[in-house]
Amino acid sequence: MFSLNTQFASGSGISSLGIELKSFLFQLITFIIVLLILRRWVFPKLVATLEARRKTLEESLVQAKQTQETLERAEASADKILHKARVQADAALADAQDQAKDVVAQAETAAETQAARVLKEAEQQLSQERDKLREQLKGELADLVVLTTEKVLRAKLNPREDAKLISKSIEELK
């Protein structure tokens, strides 16, 4: 202090630099007061606001990261679901194709069986009709033969021949 005062007093210190001591002190005191005021009421609020913003930003970043992770997990899950769904769809399609083949095979078998049955029934019916027709023809032939024979016999058989026939039959009577 002594040295400073000495320098001021001497006019060779600050004064030599063009700085007025009183003004300088006044400005210094004012600066200190302002600094104290700022430190007491402004800086805490400013720091708190900045800190709040920083926290908000950090939280936003964390949330964004979480959102990103959630999104990635969702995409992964979606991929898994899609893959699983695709696999299931392929399996279902394969099953459906197999079932369709089975249905077609069963239908073919049933159709073949039914066709064979219908054919067999038709053959049986045809055979029955043939037998019936044969019997009918046989009966008609028998009637025709007997009728013809009867007519011939009536024309040829006179009482004399009839007597011969009766005589022969009498011998055979038992």
Binding site: K138, L141, A142, D143, V145, V146, T149, E150, L153, R154, L157, P159, E161, D162, A163, L165, I166, S167, S169, I170, E171, E172, L173, K174
Partner: protein, 130 residues
């Protein structure tokens, strides 16, 4: 009075005839039995039963002869003798009927036997065999 069956009456009648009882008397007994049993409408059936009894005992066979034309006496006699042998009876009462549908041959029917030697029957056999 007890009621008798036709078979019992027929047996009684044959027994009485074999015992040389007069036929008129036996006939009266049978008529009385039929009237008593309220079987007057069964007189013909009773006669059939009597004929059956007579034939079964080897006495008399009542035979019905069917032919297409009338038989000669010689053939009738031979046929009667042959029926006696075949039926195993002592006598044959032959009644004849003409039926052109038999075509030829003869048919004889008694109460217990039947012989069909007609052409119509042989034709039926042929028809059945075809």
């Amino acid at each position: 009075m007890a009621s008798f069956s036709r078979r019992q009456l027929a047996i009684y009648a044959v027994d009485q005839l074999l015992a040389k009882r007069p036929a008129s008397e036996v006939s009266r007994h049978l008529a009385a039995a039929l009237i008593a049993g309220k079987k007057q409408n069964q007189a013909d059936l009773l006669l059939d039963d009597v004929a059956e009894q007579l034939e079964s005992r080897g006495l008399v066979a009542r035979a019905t002869l069917t032919t297409a034309t009338a038989l000669s006496e010689e053939l009738r006699a031979r046929l009667t003798e042959q029926i006696k042998k075949a039926a195993g009876v002592a006598e044959v009462s032959l009644s004849e009927q003409i039926d052109p549908t038999v075509i030829g041959g003869f048919r004889v029917e008694t109460t217990e036997h039947a012989w069909d030697e007609t052409i119509a029957r042989r034709l039926e056999q042929i028809k059945g065999g075809i």
